[in-house]
């Protein structure tokens, strides 16, 4: 996945994160360079199946920022980081974060309206 830097340039809103209240920095439009440094959502299949016990690559998510809905494999997963950060392909909002360490999984799903998981 990923495009070259020029083709990947686009304007987008602030890319989510854990920003709480307070002042403005981060709330303005930001131009991003798409370095292609992400994988598709299938990269989450292993660790998420450990957490949920089901194959979540068949799950659907809906971004809380822009409302874009789609299958979990459509997310952009940045894994060269202290944890996995899955972003909306439409607006770069953080949909899901997963950190594994010390025998514990921290899963943050605040960026998705829900997670629809087929059970059969």
């Amino acid at each position: 996945m990923g495009a070259d830097a020029e083709a990947g340039m686009r304007a987008a809103g602030a890319g989510g994160g854990a920003a709480g209240g307070g002042a403005v920095p981060g709330a303005e439009a930001v131009v991003y360079e798409d370095t292609g440094a992400y994988q598709d959502g299938n990269a989450l299949a292993g660790p998420l199946s450990e957490v949920f016990g089901v194959d979540v690559t068949r799950a659907a998510v809906r971004c809380t920022a822009c409302g874009l809905a789609g299958p979990l494999p459509g997310l952009r997963v940045y894994a060269h980081a202290p944890g996995a950060v899955a972003r909306c392909p439409g607006c770069e909002h953080v949909v899901l974060r997963l950190v594994l360490g010390n025998g514990t999984a921290w899963l943050d799903l605040r960026g998705t309206v829900g997670l629809r998981v087929p059970l059969a």
Binding site: G22, Y32, T35, A79, H80, A81
Partner: protein, 199 residues
């Protein structure tokens, strides 16, 4: 599992080099990023300190460069286990930037272009221990490494040294940032191996 248990395997520690526990030495400068790279031009960059009363102090790029700079050489330690020794930066000390800021805050939340945040005790930004760095190894700081300006707090794990820094909120109560709300340690002292909550 590999995607969320990153490890950069450089040379193992040399006998005469003292590293924090669990760290490996590397000569590279790995690029870690939780998202796409914000491109912030120097002409549009600004740094904004917002106190607990809402008072704002703002520096444009030109005003920032007019401040006295320092050239610290420091060791840096990433929570993904690589350490890089003797890195040389050019930047402005937070002591300089905060000298005329009146505050009773005990905490700071660094905010970056792109939405990243990280929290620190305010005292960890003072007394010559933190900078806003705009050059690395004699060159302008590349966007991959946080340019045009990143926070540099080398005595804490490197996730505290926010790339693409845009501002600081000074707070009377601690407010966990991006990684601190996802399982990482609130403080992050590499010598105490404070990687995750509970360490």
């Amino acid at each position: 599992m590999g995607i969320v248990s990153p490890g950069f395997h450089g040379r193992r520690r040399q006998g005469d080099v003292k590293l924090p526990p669990g760290q490996y030495l590397t000569d590279d400068f790995p690029v870690l990023s939780a998202g796409p790279t914000p491109r912030v031009g120097q002409d549009e960059w600004e740094f904004v300190v917002t106190t607990e009363t809402g008072e704002r102090h703002r520096w444009s790029w030109r005003e920032f460069l007019a401040l006295p700079s320092e050239t610290p050489t420091v060791d840096i330690h990433c929570v993904t286990k690589w350490s890089k020794l003797g890195t040389t930066w050019t930047g402005v000390s937070l002591d300089t930037l905060l000298a005329d800021v009146e505050t009773t805050a005990d905490y700071a939340l660094a905010r970056s272009y792109g939405g990243y945040t990280t929290n620190l005790p305010l005292e960890d930004l003072l007394d010559g221990r933190a900078w806003l760095a705009y050059r690395f190894d004699g060159e302008d700081l590349h966007p991959e490494h946080g340019g045009p300006v990143r926070l540099l707090v080398p005595h804490l794990y490197f996730w505290k040294s926010a790339k693409w820094v845009h501002g600081l909120d000074l707070l009377t109560q601690d407010e966990p940032g991006f990684w601190e709300t996802a399982g990482y340690h609130d403080y992050g002292d590499p010598w105490l191996e404070q990687r995750y909550q509970g360490d």
